[in-house]
Symmetry: C2
Subunit: 426 residues, 2 copies
């Protein structure tokens, strides 16, 4: 299933898709060079937007939580990717400890964990699940729809090592974004065995760092393809010292929103695009679509009422928002049965392993679909994103998904740069 | 589609399959260890036999010619495996030269080449095809059913490098088993870029070396699983200085066939197997099912008539047979619609990437299906062989294919050992 694309701007997109196809050898060669210089994150998912004239990442998750939404037909790609990673990074490892989020009552999230456990086991690893939940004081069975029950165990710290009872892992895979801070029990570990590294969590991570790194990656990529980097890169800006509760930082917000809307308007004029420009203001920290708003004019971000301010002030785990990122809004022009669909691409190590559409019937093209409490319908890609069809048109299904995989991998390179740049001094 | 297995000996096989499943972590860990010590061949296919009481490799092809028979649904596994290999072995490579067999008029073989070309291109490589055919003196289009035409080009030698016009490859992938000897144009190359190495061709290669290496691998594996190595390893013996034309070497053949039939009988007695033992006598060199015969008694190999001797005396490319391997016959107890089915597993680097059944309706369970001129029907596996189902029975489809993948990988390790042991002194 491939969504229909609103046809208005198909020309520009086809130009991008066709450049990607023609230059695929150079692109893959360039990626290989990147992975010689930089270490890819253990895994990642990237939310893309396809406006029909640009395809761009809008969020990169280093603790991806939707493996359950991937097409089971391509699970072998996950297994092979994990095997390759283990072969290379810790060939002597067999014991893997998985540290999940504390959402044990979210059946979808637990299905994600079950899928990860299956992938790791199929790759030949012993997997145990260590929970950060204080209520888990002994091995506890959790039912998972469609899967055998999972057993959560209390984490056991011993010197610089972490494990569960009678189980010393060679590899600790974190699937918890640490929005609440780095848990005490994970501090001061021999971190050579923890992936992703702890500074990939939201205690340290900033979206603005990610997109600053992405600017560099997108510029190099655009040069390679001889295209305008804007076609794969949304504008972004940053405001610090913001407090929505205290109405602080409003000037920075207003100035940046105004300037960015002007920049977008200029680009739209250049390319003859008739859409309404908009920007997205998001907390620089955190995930799950909290602390996020759209703005089509400066007026949308000044003089917010109490309800709006409350909504922006706090994100996941009650974290107060002090920094925001202002990002160019990319319209979502993909439709599945009339509903808006946003592609999410999944990667393990350097390999694209599939993806899915986040489909929401009740939202407009310029609204964020990953909103709190929202119930999106995931529709798995029918394509694994790594098999371009050179004899088909650039916008054929296989080629569009291949392009998605490439843009997602650009964000993956940016994440690698970001993690290098933000690594704590040792 | 999974063939039905004649139920007689299912108990023994289930024991093997269940050991494989229980020990999968140890097995994968053991393989990782092997690949730290040994370099896997670039690619390989392994012919397996499943007798219902043992699963064993009977032939390992280092120039696999049936990629066209693999399930297209799993082609992503091939693409990812090639990408990983290129990442690791020659990250700076983009130009790949493929040297095929000279069977340009065999549409199935050319489909194999077309599939390989597609896989390499999807992995981001520039691919050109260099032909050893003296009749190819300029770029020549060859039609391939179901694929865009391929272009064969004359090879161009320049110093220690080989290429085609205006194309210097970083990697030369050989898909020609060199039964006719190492072509002059490939001698004295900078062989660091040629895969598989030239001594993997039948000029140097001997089946008996492969199965001697396999003895060692199977013994280690059997120890790991605490099983009788015979359950994964057919007996084999070797006779040199054989000449079927001159009736030389008959005594060696008779002695070995007699002794092996006794050994098999003893094993059948031990396990209560009621099948008729048989052995297979094959040329130690070569492929394509030429120079091959079955024997159920010593009488079958002495006093051969002229027709039988002629059939055994010469293999592919007119090569005369001087060495033979005598191999325990493994009955084929897998049936698809009443026809005998032989599994063939494909691998790229260390990764299993799928396989197919070679199905022949006109042959018995103890006959070789890979015979000259035979028209087998390939039926692609519906399973990628790397996704065991730990919650299903050991003989469930996913688990049987997983076991096949493991036995095939044992043969892959043996091939790696064999290539090390037979490498020319440098």
């Amino acid at each position: 299933m491939i969504p229909h694309l609103t046809a208005t701007h198909a020309g520009l997109l086809q130009e991008l898709e066709s450049r990607v196809l023609v230059k695929s050898t150079e692109i893959e060669h360039w990626f290989r060079g990147q992975w010689q210089k930089h270490t890819p994150p253990f895994y990642a998912s990237v939310d893309l937007r396809n406006s029909g004239f640009k395809v761009a990442p809008v969020d990169t998750n280093l603790f991806p939580g939707g493996f359950n939404n991937l097409n089971p037909a391509f699970q072998g790609l996950c297994v092979q990717a994990v095997s390759s990673t283990i072969d290379r990074t810790c060939p002597n490892a067999s014991n893997l400890l998985l540290i999940p989020e504390n959402h044990t009552r979210n059946p979808f999230y637990m299905q994600n964990i079950a899928r990860l456990v299956t992938i790791f086991r199929q790759a030949g690893l012993n997997v145990r699940i260590g929970s950060l939940l204080p209520t888990i004081t002994e091995p506890t069975k959790v039912e998972v729809p469609g899967h055998p029950p999972l057993v959560l165990e209390p984490l056991v710290r011993s010197g610089q090592r972490i494990g569960v009872k009678d189980f010393e892992p060679c590899l600790v895979v974190v699937n918890n974004d640490m929005s609440a801070g780095i848990p005490e029990i994970l501090r001061g570990l021999d971190d050579s065995i923890v992936v992703p590294p702890l500074h990939a969590g939201w205690t340290v991570r900033r979206k603005s760092n990610h997109f600053t790194a992405y600017d560099q990656v997108a510029a190099e990529f655009a040069k390679l393809l001889a295209i305008d980097p804007w076609l794969v890169n949304p504008y972004h800006a940053h405001c610090g010292q913001v407090s929505f509760h205290e109405r602080a930082g409003e000037e920075c917000l207003a100035a940046n929103v105004g300037e960015m809307l002007d920049q977008i308007r200029a680009k739209y004029l250049e390319y003859g695009i008739k859409d309404d420009p908009f920007v997205v203001v998001k907390a620089d920290v955190g995930t799950y679509g909290m602390g996020i708003m759209m703005a089509k004019s400066v007026d949308d971000v000044v003089g917010l009422n109490r309800k709006q301010r409350n909504k922006m002030a706090v994100v996941k785990e009650g974290l107060e928002v002090h920094d925001v990122i202002i990002q160019e809004g990319v319209h979502t022009h993909e439709r599945i049965d009339g509903a808006v669909g946003e592609p999410v691409v999944y990667m393990i190590d350097r390999h694209v392993v599939g993806g899915f559409y986040r489909v929401h019937t009740g939202r407009g093209i310029d609204e964020n679909l990953n909103a709190p409490g929202m119930h999106f319908v995931p529709i798995a890609f029918n394509d694994c994103c790594i098999q371009p069809d050179f004899s088909a048109k650039p916008d054929a299904e296989a080629n569009r998904f291949y392009a998605y995989g490439i843009i997602a991998r650009l964000a993956l390179v940016a994440a690698a740069l970001e993690l290098e740049q933000t690594a704590p001094a040792t």
